[in-house]
């Protein structure tokens, strides 16, 4: 039985996985994600928390567990990972093909890549003829030209507003 006395302060799960040893309890776990070592204060972080450690979000990336025996498992954003799982050596991330964007505050799935304004507005049953599409990109939402494709990488934030102006 483990007591507070024999709880390791900080352990590297990669090293334990490599040696084939059980990962002991610890206050901090060193975890490799895409080769970068990050520190996690719980043995059961969510996929979203682990992604955030390398500056990524589930709206654009997925997290994949890597085991010493070469098995890989996708971790859902809300899924809790057991960092003490035998053979778990770390994680990699992958850009999703179907990403999540946000329109007027709600999430929508869309294929990554260049998408037309019409394709984006169609998610909220709107058209460029009737609505202005605005993107919030490092600042306040600004109108997008309806005839220029929008590069979708995931996590983009859009707003729409009824068309109302015209040259007079």
């Amino acid at each position: 039985m483990e007591t507070e006395k024999n709880v390791e302060v900080e352990i590297d799960i990669f090293e334990f996985a490599g040696r084939g040893e059980e990962v002991p309890h610890a206050t901090t776990y060193r975890v490799r994600i895409d080769g970068e070592t990050v520190k996690v204060d719980t043995p059961h972080p969510t996929g979203e928390l682990l992604l955030s450690k390398v500056g990524k979000r589930p709206c654009a990336f997925e997290l994949i567990e890597e085991f010493v025996h070469h098995d890989n498992d996708v971790v859902e954003p809300n899924e809790e990972v057991n960092l003490r799982k035998h053979g778990l050596k770390g994680f990699i991330t992958a850009h999703k093909e179907i990403v999540t964007i946000f329109i007027n505050g709600d999430p929508y799935s869309i294929e990554r890549g260049k998408r037309t304004v019409a394709q984006i507005l169609s998610k909220v049953n709107q058209t460029p003829e009737g609505y202005i599409l605005m993107e919030e990109k490092g600042g306040p939402p600004l109108p997008l030209p309806p005839d220029v494709p929008v590069e979708i990488c995931g996590c983009e934030i859009f707003h729409s507003q009824a068309q109302s102006g015209g040259s007079s």
Partner: protein, 115 residues
């Protein structure tokens, strides 16, 4: 004329400084460093938002420079307000009781829309 404080707050996100400029019976909203849509040159400039009818338009957006954008605009609103020259292009916005931000967006859309 006083504008709703929450609308003023929202508008502040579009510029570096926002203040009221009363002149000729109109309270213009003086927006320093207004961010402009992608494809505009410059990408930001000072602006005056006039939320009430002026010069035959229900509302107007005056800019400190004639902004170059994807579509040529009919710059027909050269005027002097607050001891400074301003420019506006022919753009009619008809919105029923818009917020200040909705009004600003409708005017900025003139740089992103052909007609």
């Amino acid at each position: 004329m006083a504008y709703p404080p929450e609308q003023i707050e929202e508008l502040k996100g579009y510029c570096t400084k926002l203040s009221a400029l009363p002149e000729g019976g109109v309270t213009f909203l003086y927006m320093e460093g207004l961010r402009l849509p992608a494809g505009c040159n410059p990408s930001a400039c000072d602006a005056l938002l006039c939320p009430v009818a002026k010069d035959g338009y229900p509302s107007r957006l005056y800019l400190s420079v004639q902004v170059a954008s994807r579509y040529p605009r009919n710059w027909n609103g050269s005027t002097r307000i607050g001891e400074r020259n301003w420019f506006a292009f022919s753009w009619m916005v008809n919105l029923s009781e818009p917020t200040l931000t909705q009004l600003l967006i409708a005017h900025l859309n003139g740089f992103a829309k052909e007609k």
